[in-house]
C-alpha cells in the first residue's frame, strides 16, 4: 500500500525533451522517406556493444527510465535483431565484434536504421590504432546518424534517434541551429 502512496505522491517525472547542442548529432546519410513513414511512431531498438567501455550503455539504460522515458515516442528495446528496426551501436569495433556486428546487421529485417552512439563509434576515441580495433562503426556497416559525446547524454541519444526518424519538432531545431 505504501508503494502506491509513493507512486501517487511522486506523480509523473518524465521531463520534456530538452533542446541540446546542435553539433552533437551528425547525419551521415538521409533515411529513406518510406522507411521513415513506416517506422515513424513504432521503433524497436537492438543495442549492439561492438567493444565499448560501457559508458555509453549506462547512458542508454537511462532512456528506458522514468525521466527520459523513450516509450512515450514509441521507442522500445528488443531482445533480438529480428524484431528490431534500428541498431544502436556503441564503441570502436573490435576484431572480435566485427563479425557479430555484421551478422546482427544482416539479421535485421529491412527497412533498418543504424545510429552510432559515442565518440568511439565515430573516431575510435582513445582506442584508435590499437591492434584489437578494426575501426569506426561505419567501416563495418553503413551508419545513418552519429551521436557524439563521451558518453553522450540520454537526451542527445534520444535526439539522435529522433533525428534519424525526422521526428524532432522542426521549430525547435531551427532555433538550435542558429
Amino acid at each position: 500500500m505504501l508503494l502506491f502512496l509513493k507512486i501517487l505522491k511522486a506523480g509523473i517525472v518524465t521531463e520534456p525533451l530538452a533542446p541540446g547542442e546542435p553539433d552533437v548529432i551528425e547525419v551521415a546519410r538521409e533515411v529513406e522517406t518510406k522507411a521513415r513513414r513506416l517506422l515513424g511512431r513504432a521503433v524497436a531498438i537492438r543495442e549492439v556493444d561492438a567493444g565499448s567501455c560501457n559508458g555509453c550503455e549506462i547512458e542508454i539504460t537511462g532512456l528506458t527510465g522514468p525521466v527520459y522515458d523513450s516509450e512515450r515516442f514509441g521507442i522500445h528495446f528488443v531482445a533480438s535483431p529480428r524484431h528490431a528496426d534500428l541498431l544502436l551501436v556503441t564503441g570502436p569495433v573490435t576484431r572480435n565484434m566485427e563479425i557479430p556486428l555484421l551478422k546482427t546487421y544482416e539479421a535485421t529485417p529491412d527497412p533498418k536504421i543504424v545510429v552510432a552512439v559515442g565518440d568511439c563509434a565515430r573516431t575510435c576515441g582513445v582506442f584508435r590504432g590499437s591492434y584489437a580495433v578494426v575501426g569506426s562503426v561505419d567501416a563495418v556497416i553503413p551508419v545513418d546518424v552519429f551521436v557524439s559525446g563521451c558518453p553522450p547524454e540520454p537526451t542527445d541519444i534520444l535526439r539522435g534517434i529522433l533525428t534519424a526518424l525526422d521526428r524532432l519538432p522542426k521549430r525547435k531545431r531551427r532555433r538550435d541551429g542558429t
Binding site: 508503494l3 502506491f4 507512486i7 511522486a10 506523480g11 509523473i12 517525472v13 518524465t14 513506416l38 517506422l39 511512431r41 513504432a42 524497436a44 522514468p66 522515458d69 516509450e71 512515450r72 514509441g74 522500445h76 528495446f77 528488443v78 531482445a79 533480438s80 529480428r82 524484431h83 528496426d85 539479421a107 535485421t108 529485417p109 529491412d110 527497412p111
Partner: protein, 314 residues
C-alpha cells in the same frame, strides 16, 4: 439463425480488433504506475501495422514448420475467440465447442509455438520452448479443472450454457466453488499469457524469458501474427474471467438495446481486469523459475477444491 451467426462473427471480430488495445492499455497503466508518461494505449496497433509491412528474415536452418506455426497459432486463438461468449448467450456457435475445446485449442497454439521455437535450432528458442511446455503442462489441467468446477454447477460443459445458468441463479456466483475457481483461473491467466510473476512481458534478458525466447527468431508479418495471437489470448482469458464468473450484462436476446448494454458492460469488465493486472505487475517481482511450479500447483489445488466444493454443496 442469420442474426445469430452474424452476432457470433461480430463478437469474434470485436475480440480480434480489441485485443492489441487491451495489451496497450495494460502497458500504459504500468507506465503511469512507474511514474512514466508511456506510450498511448493504441501503440500496439502501430507496431502491428509496422511489422506487417516489414521484411521477413528467416534462418536458413528453419524448416516448413517455422513458416506454418504463426498461422496455426493465430487461427487456433481466433477460433477460441469465436467460441467463448463475448457479448451474447446462448448463441448457436456455442455448440461448436465446449470448455474442453477451448482449453485444447489454446494448448494447440502453445504446442506449435514451442515447436517453432525449437525448429531453427537456436539455443534460446529451445530454452524458451522447454520452459513454455513446463508452464503449460502445469497450467493446462488447472484451466480445465477450474472451468469444470463451473460446468459442474451448471450441469453442462457448454460455455454459453454456464454463463446463462449463473445469470439465472445469481447466488451461485458467490459460492465457494466459483470463488476458488476464479482465483485458480486468474493465476493460470498470468502464467499462460506470460505475465508477472511467471514471465516478464517487458524483459530483454534472454535468460529470464519464456514466451519471448520462443519467438526471438520471428520477424515481419510472422512476428505480427504471433504478437496479435498473444494479445488475443490475453483478451480470451479476460473474457473467460469476466463472462463466465460474472455473466451479468451479457445480452440474452439479440435486440439492439441488449447488445449495446453488453458492449458497455464488457468494456467495463475488461478495464477492471486490465487495472488488476497492471497493479499486480507493479506490486510483485518475478518468481524464480524453480518456484513457478509451486505457484501453479497452488492454483491447481484451488481448482481441485473448487470442483470438490461444487460436488459437496449442490
Amino acid at each position: 439463425m442469420t442474426a445469430d451467426l452474424m452476432m457470433a462473427a461480430a463478437q469474434g471480430l470485436l475480440a480480434l480488433f480489441l485485443a492489441p488495445g487491451v495489451v496497450g492499455l495494460v502497458r500504459w497503466l504500468k507506465a503511469r504506475l512507474q511514474n512514466r508518461r508511456g506510450a498511448p494505449p493504441w501503440q500496439p496497433y502501430r507496431e502491428l501495422r509496422k511489422l506487417f509491412q516489414k521484411e521477413v528474415v528467416v534462418s536458413r536452418h528453419a524448416s516448413w514448420l517455422f513458416h506454418l506455426a504463426p498461422f496455426v497459432v493465430f487461427a487456433s486463438t481466433l477460433a477460441v475467440a469465436v467460441i467463448v461468449p463475448v457479448l451474447a448467450v446462448p448463441l448457436l456457435v456455442d455448440r461448436i465447442g465446449d470448455l474442453l475445446v477451448v482449453v485444447y485449442l489454446l494448448l494447440l497454439g502453445t504446442f506449435f509455438l514451442a515447436l517453432a521455437g525449437l525448429d531453427p535450432g537456436s539455443a534460446f528458442g529451445g530454452m524458451g520452448a522447454s520452459r513454455e511446455v513446463t508452464v503449460a503442462a502445469l497450467a493446462e489441467p488447472t484451466l480445465a479443472v477450474a472451468i469444470f468446477a463451473l460446468a459442474r454447477s451448471a450441469g453442462s460443459t457448454n460455455l454459453g450454457e454456464i454463463a446463462a445458468r449463473t445469470t439465472a441463479d445469481p447466488l451461485s456466483a458467490v459460492s465457494p466453488g466459483h470463488l476458488l475457481a476464479f482465483a485458480a483461473l486468474f493465476i493460470v491467466m498470468l502464467a499462460e499469457t506470460g505475465r508477472l510473476p511467471v514471465d516478464n512481458p517487458a524483459t530483454h534478458l534472454e535468460l529470464t524469458m519464456i514466451h519471448e525466447a520462443m519467438v526471438l527468431e520471428y520477424s515481419g508479418r510472422y512476428l505480427a501474427l504471433i504478437e496479435w495471437a498473444a494479445a488475443l489470448k490475453f483478451l480470451v482469458f479476460f473474457i473467460l474471467l469476466g463472462n463466465l464468473f460474472v455473466p451479468w450484462g451479457l445480452a440474452r436476446a439479440l435486440t439492439l438495446e441488449a447488445v449495446m448494454t453488453a458492449v458497455g458492460v464488457f468494456a467495463v469488465k475488461v478495464v477492471v481486469l486490465a487495472v488488476a493486472v497492471a497493479v499486480l505487475e507493479t506490486r510483485v517481482a518475478k518468481l524464480r523459475l524453480f518456484r513457478v511450479p509451486e505457484l501453479l500447483s497452488a492454483s491447481f489445488v484451488l481448482a481441485l477444491l473448487a470442483v470438490t466444493s461444487s460436488f459437496l454443496l449442490r
